[in-house]
Each structure stands twice: as C-alpha cells, then as structure tokens.
C-alpha cells in the first residue's frame, strides 16, 4: 500500500476476484471505506473481472426457466395487487379509524382529558378562592359596618355613657355602656372577675317601662375584660343597665343576683 492506496493497480482486480487474503484484504477494505477514488477503481476492476464470465462455454437455459420465472412474477404481481388494493382502501377508508385513532385521536383525547382535569381542578380552586374572597369581603364589610356603627355611636351627640358599678358582695369589677336610643345600639366595655363554674354574666337594658331586655351574655377572659357591640330595639328609653350572674347561656329574664348596676340619670 502507498499512502493507503493499493501499491499495484491489479490489486483492484485481485480484490474483485476474491483472491486477496489476510492483512492485504483487511488493509484494502479499510482504505476503500474512505477513498472514493479507489472505490471507483474497484468498480471498474469489477467490470473487467466480470467480463471473464464471457469466457465460459455457452449454455442456453431451458425454456422452462423463463416460463417458471414469468409465472412466479405473475403470481407475485397478483399477490401485490391483491395486497395493495385493501391497503389502498384501508388507507382511504380507514384512515381516520386507524391512523387518527392510534396516532392522533388517542393522544389528543388523553391530552384533552388531562387539560380538562387540570381545568376542573383549577376551576374548583378558583371557586374555593372566590368563596373565601366573598366571605372575607363580607367579613370586611361587616367589620367596616361595625366600625362605622361604633364610630357613629361614639360620635353621635345623643349617645349616652352609663357607668356600671359593682354591687356589694359580688365579684369585683367596673364597666360602662354607651347607648343610643335612636340607633337601638349599645356598646359594653368593662372588667369583671371570672364567673363561677357553669355561670355567665348577662347584660340587661332595663327600660323605664316593661321588662328588661337582654343585651348580651359574656364571660370574662384571663384579663377580665370584655368589649362588645349589641343591637337592641330602637326607641327604648332606658332606666338603667345591669349585669346579672346567670346560668351559662343566659336567661330570657334576669334570675340571678345583680353584679353591676348603672342607672341612667
């Protein structure tokens, strides 16, 4: 080999003959794989070697060979035509049934199902968020309303402030009530010792005429304080406000002892 090329031109014929062996053959084939010029020379050498076939004594094939060949060809063509017709029909008629179903429809359905699932989940999440937002908004509106009512109660000129004083022998404490007759609203702020077990404090609006009106049941926390707003019937002129000790849950009318009392002057 010279620079990888066969050193002698007849090497191409020897390879075409199949006469090269061992390392010579391996080197030749390795070189051929990367040399277009030598591949062309080999094609030409194959042609020259192939012509040696003409040196064979002439032997005509029997007519039966051609007959068998053409029969084989006709059978093959019949099979081809028979096989291609259904395939064409299948391609034409079954295109959507097979290809779309297998190739597009099924994956698309899966994707759509996934998307639908994701959207449904997202929709549920949005519904929950919307409900929460509505609740928050309602709560904020309520707080705003209460704040505005407190503000209105506090700033109203006809709101009265009634101090409530502890009664002798009762839990210690003090409180006051801000009340507006027209608005039918009061606010309690006070401190009291914790109520006994199974007992609760209950605030009463004691009108000038008629029975006391419950204005809230409460139990002091650890800091003994309480603060709350309460709506009562409008237009009730109070004679006094009182806190009584009642069974837990409160009573319709006062049943227990007076703990705090604040007469309206």
């Amino acid at each position: 080999m010279t620079n990888g090329h066969p050193s002698r031109e007849e090497d191409f014929e020897l390879y075409a003959l199949g006469s090269l062996e061992g390392d010579e053959k391996r080197e030749f084939e390795a070189h051929l794989a990367s040399c277009a010029d030598c591949a062309r020379k080999l094609a030409e050498a194959r042609g020259r070697v192939a012509l040696l076939a003409l040196a064979a004594p002439p032997v005509k094939p029997s007519a039966a060979v051609k007959a068998r060949l053409m029969q084989q060809v006709r059978q093959d063509r019949s099979r081809f035509d028979a096989a291609s017709a259904p395939r064409k029909a299948e391609r034409a008629e079954g295109y959507f049934g097979s290809w779309w179903a297998a190739g597009i429809l099924v994956p698309t359905t899966i994707v759509l199902a996934i998307i639908a699932g994701v959207l449904w989940t997202e929709n549920q999440n949005l519904d929950r968020r919307l409900t929460n937002l509505r609740a928050d908004l309602q709560q904020q509106q309520q707080q705003f309303q209460e704040s505005r009512e407190v503000a209105d109660l506090i700033t109203a000129r006809d709101t009265m402030i009634v101090p409530l004083a502890a009664q002798r022998g009762m839990p210690k404490g003090a409180a006051h009530v801000m009340y507006n007759e027209k608005m039918g609203m009061l606010m309690y702020e006070g401190e009291l010792d914790p109520a006994p077990a199974n007992k609760a404090y209950q605030l009463w609006l004691v009108p000038a005429k008629g029975n006391p009106i419950s204005a809230g049941v409460f139990t002091p926390g650890a800091d003994k304080s309480n603060h709350f707003m309460m709506k009562v019937p409008q237009g009730v002129a109070p004679a006094a406000f009182a806190v009584t000790l009642e069974p837990a849950g409160g009573e319709a009318q006062p049943t227990g002892p007076k703990v705090l009392v604040g007469p309206v002057s």
Partner: protein
C-alpha cells in the same frame, strides 16, 4: 430464443428497469432474453449443475423484479452487476457460503463496464475479445485465473491445488490480470 419486441430490443437497460419498477412484466422478459444466456453460461461453468444453475438464474431475475427500485443504473452497469451477482451466487453455493442479502448485493456491488452489452452483437464481440485475451495468456496464468474466477479460489488454495509456491501463484495472477486490464482498457 428471443421474444423481445422491436421496442424492447432498442430500449436501454435503464429504461427497462424503470418499466420493471412500474410492474411491467414485458420489461423483465426483455432483460431476461438479453442476459439469461450469458448468465446461464457462467453459472453452469462454475456449478457444473444445470438444475442448480437454473434455480439461481431464475432467482436473480426474480430479485431484479422485486428490487428494481434499488438498482441505480446511473452508478453502474446492469450487465456487469448481473454477471457479478451470478458468479457470487454460484461460488457461494459451490463453497457452501451464505450469499449476501439481496439488498446488499444491489447496493454494494457497483460494477462499471466500459462497454455496452445491451445487444447480442455487442455481447458476442466482447466474448470474442475476452476469449482472445485468455488464449494469449501462458497456460499457467490461464489456469490460475480460471481457478480464481470460476472456482473462487484464493492464492493459497490455488497454490495448494497446483503445488506451486504461493509467490509464484500471486505473480501469475497479477500478470494475467495486468494483461486483461491493458486489453480491456
């Protein structure tokens, strides 16, 4: 025995291959009539078995019918390819080797022929030329090249068969092939 029509006689190998690709049986028949005799001769020379030779002959043309689309007439000669395939098939059968797959034979065995063998006259002219070249060779070279070509023997096998030194066999083959090259170029 030629059933080629006037049109088919004048048709090139490439044109007939194109028609075979269109499932034209007449085109295959034309190619068979054109080359079957040439192939039958070499197959019988190698195998010395008429039935085996005819089976391979039929199989080669049936392969051409089935795989014509894989044959690129612009890259090589159909006549040359047919002769290469016929020899390879016969040598494989003679030596009990597995022949290459049909697709590999079509793709890998590009054969360039400087001569057009599409007519019976051209084939006869080339036959005479090749025979003349071989008859000019010394007997030892002639024997060596016939053993290599028609029996598929390697240098070593020829040396073993003839009892000649390996180097001598190589030189005889190289010299004979060099003569062939000069004569056919």
């Amino acid at each position: 025995m030629s059933s080629e029509t006037g049109t088919d006689l004048r048709a090139t190998d490439a044109a007939l291959i194109e028609r075979i690709m269109q499932r034209d049986e007449a085109a295959l028949e034309a190619l068979y009539d054109r080359y079957a005799g040439m192939l039958s001769s070499v197959l019988n020379r190698i195998l010395r078995d008429t039935q085996a030779a005819e089976e391979i002959l039929q199989d080669i043309f049936f392969q051409l019918w089935r795989n014509a689309a894989q044959f690129d007439a612009t890259r090589g000669s159909l006549a040359g390819w047919l002769m290469v395939i016929a020899r390879n098939r016969a040598i494989s059968k003679l030596r009990h080797h597995n022949p290459a797959a049909a697709g590999e034979e079509l793709l890998e065995n590009t054969v360039a022929l400087p001569f057009n063998l599409e007519s019976a006259a051209a084939q006869q002219q080339m036959l005479d030329k090749v025979k003349g070249v071989l008859e000019m060779l010394p007997k030892e070279q002639q024997t060596a090249i016939e053993m290599a070509y028609f029996e598929g023997m390697t240098h070593s096998e020829i040396a073993e068969r003839t009892g000649d030194p390996l180097g001598t066999v190589k030189t005889r083959l190289r010299t004979a092939l060099e003569t062939l090259r000069r004569a056919l170029n």
